[in-house]
């Protein structure tokens, strides 16, 4: 049953992947490298991520796809030895430039992590965290934002009666959607997702994938995934990375049906990885 639906979806999304024509670039990596100490985790990547499309990044473990994703909102800054070379251009600015305010950048580039990381606070406080940070104090406005965000993350109906309950009491899938709602509440332009379904069961995964299908209308989505079927199902564009190098980047349908690079073909056909 699940399998059937999934197969259908692949077709549907992959079909759409073909329609991409003239698009706006939202984020662009130019000769971008990222080092952990001396180790070059991302090697001179050039990549244009289009606006309001879903871009998936695939590749074997340790290939640098997560690092590249986290480079887009500078989450790698948390690691003391990390430093970047080259340019990552967002809204006309190199985000690794000197005058960039990381806090503002992160408010415009939201992120959802591998494991649902809700705060040990109430559901409401979780979603309201970002807006409150930006100085929203008006209770009514907050209520509206929270409701809107929860609706967009398709979880409103499940939690509307228990907004004051602790978020840790929800199931893993609900928590992950709450994380998405929390990220949406700061009204980002880009939403980064780092293996958002790897800790979830198939049913919760299906819900998140549905959600991605809806969110693409309004947001630029970048999603890292280990699951190639998922990449095929949900994305418009797919990037294949291997050992820090961007091997191939193109329309999803094309990459999965007719890869240009033999390495990509080996990976997607399951010969390694």
């Amino acid at each position: 049953m699940t399998e059937e639906i999934t197969m259908k979806k692949i077709d549907a999304f992959a079909e759409r992947g073909n329609e991409i024509t003239g698009h706006e670039t939202h984020v662009e990596a130019k000769n971008f490298s990222l080092f952990y100490g001396n180790f070059e985790a991302v090697r001179k990547v050039n990549m244009q991520i289009p606006k309001r499309k879903v871009t998936a990044m695939i590749g074997p473990s340790g290939c640098g796809k997560s690092t590249l994703l986290r480079a887009i909102n500078r989450m790698n800054d948390l690691i003391p030895s990390a430093h970047a070379k080259g340019e990552m251009i967002f809204d006309g600015h190199n985000i690794y430039g000197k005058n960039i305010d990381v806090v503002t950048l992160r408010a415009r580039v939201g992120m959802v992590f591998q494991k649902p990381n809700v705060f040990p606070k109430s559901i409401f406080d979780n979603v309201a965290y970002g807006p409150r940070l930006q100085g929203m104090r008006n209770r009514q406005k907050l209520n509206e934002t929270v409701e809107q965000s929860l609706r967009r993350a398709a979880i409103w109906d499940e939690v509307k009666d228990r907004l004051s309950a602790n978020a840790l009491g929800m199931s893993g899938g609900q928590q992950q959607r709450l994380c998405i709602a929390r990220a949406l509440a700061i009204q980002p332009e880009i939403l980064l997702m780092d293996e958002p379904t790897s800790a979830l069961d198939p049913k919760a995964t299906a819900k998140i994938e549905d959600l991605i299908g809806v969110l693409r209308e309004n947001y630029t989505l970048v999603i890292v995934t280990h699951n190639m079927q998922q990449a095929a199902r949900v994305s418009d564009l797919t990037a294949f990375m291997y050992e820090g190098v961007l091997v191939e980047f193109g329309k999803t349908k094309q990459l999965f049906t007719n890869p240009k690079n033999p390495q990509t073909e080996n990976y997607i056909t399951g010969r390694f990885g």
Partner: protein
């Protein structure tokens, strides 16, 4: 290793564990039982009429309607004693000089012992010292003092191989044939009527001031002083400790300076408390002059230094135990570093920090050495809150030591010493319990 040996080892280890726990429980029981038993005697004891008189006259407490009648009865019971004493005095005057000399010193001993037991004789002028104005207030002490009336004590040093042997002779034999002879029988038989013991529940022991260096009254100044010192120490130590821990975990770059700092903190935790006391005297009082004399302020500051290392350590561990994902989540939502700490890291690490606070609070309440030179005095009035800035205070740990070693009537006030120990233990227990409850509530809130 065969399965059999593994099973045997497993059993042996769980046995050892049980033994260890059993021994701990036994030790705890061994320590707590005498504290509870003897400490409770400060609160519940058989009080004599003298105790009720002290309560009425010095503390304005008691039944003013019934007391005079009761006192009259006691006085009536005591009347024959003073009559016998007067008769014997008259008899002594008729004696020959040599026999009179023989009886005179022995008689004086009896007279003194009776004064200690019953208080000054009627018609005598009121003594200056308060402790001499009243007879024995507790039934157990009454019986000891009665024994001193009935028996004369002498040390016999003539026995070889012994340092000295206490020989007790009944005074009734000394005075056989005189008019004093009936006194001893009378006292033995009528002591109940003279002292009228009654089971007394004296909970005001905690809230009464002490009078005449703890011979009368309770321990309120000590209790209050301990609370001031403990809370004062926490007031200084908690912000300092938590901020230091946040800095070490979140801001400081790992390097030589930070590892050196950590070593210093660990070392500080091992410094003997008396050294902290001397430092407090040298620095807070003599160098920066936080107050002119010893004061609660200086004591609190010294205690806060003492508990700082424990606090920093536990706060650091609590902060490091907060999942990194919380921090990532907050940062990805656009929170600055400071905001992340304030809204996410601190709330999540609060239970752990509270544990550290619990441990150090118990320590601050019970430490003696740091306050000897900086805050504690043996006798004092309860302080008003603003007086803590420049005045010293009595405090339980110091006064327990002081009453056991330096008091002029150590044996008379055993119940006060044990009462103080019990009170201190209970205060620490209550403080800890409050913190544990708070901790449980917060963790429950965090867990959902």
């Amino acid at each position: 290793m065969t399965l059999e040996t593994r099973k045997l080892l497993d059993k042996a280890f769980s046995g050892l564990g049980l033994i260890a726990i059993g021994m701990m429980a036994a030790a705890l029981l061994l320590i707590l039982t005498p504290i509870l038993w003897r400490g409770s005697k400060a609160f519940i004891f058989k009080g004599t009429i003298e105790h009720r008189r002290v309560m009425l006259e010095e503390f304005d407490r008691g039944n003013t309607d019934r007391f005079p009648a009761e006192m009259e009865k006691a006085k009536a019971a005591r009347e024959p004693i003073y009559q016998i004493l007067a008769d014997f005095k008259a008899e002594m005057k008729t004696m020959e000089r040599s026999t009179r000399g023989e009886y005179k010193s022995a008689y004086r001993e009896v007279e003194q012992a009776i004064t200690v037991l019953l208080g000054p004789a009627p018609g005598e002028r009121t003594p200056v010292l308060m402790r001499q104005r009243y007879g024995q207030m507790r039934w157990d002490r009454t019986q000891i003092k009665l024994h001193e009336v009935l028996f004369s004590e002498e040390w016999d040093y003539s026995i070889p191989g012994a340092m000295g042997v206490l020989v007790e002779t009944p005074r009734i034999e000394q005075f056989a044939g005189t008019k004093l002879e009936p006194l001893f029988h009378y006292m033995e038989e009528h002591i109940d009527e003279m002292m009228r013991p009654k089971t007394t529940f004296y909970w005001q022991f905690i809230t009464d001031k002490s009078k005449d260096s703890h011979i009368f009254g309770g321990i309120w100044p000590e209790v209050l002083g301990t609370l001031y010192l403990t809370l004062g120490a926490m007031l200084f130590a908690i912000p300092m400790g938590v901020i230091a821990a946040i800095y070490l975990c979140e801001y400081a770059k790992e390097g030589r300076v930070v590892s050196f700092l950590r070593i210093c903190i660990s070392t500080l935790a091992g410094v003997p408390s008396i050294v902290f006391g001397l430092f407090g005297l040298a620095f807070f009082l003599n160098t920066i002059h936080v107050s002119d004399s010893k004061s609660v302020l200086a004591g609190s500051l010294t205690l806060s230094l003492l508990i700082l290392p424990t606090l920093i350590r536990s706060a650091e561990e609590a902060i490091l135990a907060v999942p990194r994902t919380y921090k990532e989540a907050a940062l990805s939502l656009g929170a600055g570093r400071w905001h992340t700490i304030l809204t996410v890291i601190l709330p999540a690490s609060l239970p752990g920090i509270l544990t550290g606070i619990v441990i150090s609070m118990g320590r601050a309440a019970g430490e003696t050495a740091p306050i000897i030179f900086t805050a504690a005095v043996s006798v004092g009035a309860p302080l008003k809150i603003w007086e803590t800035l420049n005045q010293p205070t009595p405090a339980l740990p110091w006064n327990i030591y002081n009453l056991c070693t330096e008091h002029e009537a150590v044996d008379e006030i055993r119940h006060v010493q044990y009462g103080m120990v019990l009170t201190l233990v209970v205060i620490v227990l209550l403080l800890n319990m409050a913190a544990i409850l708070m901790r449980a509530r917060i963790s429950k809130k965090l867990r959902g």
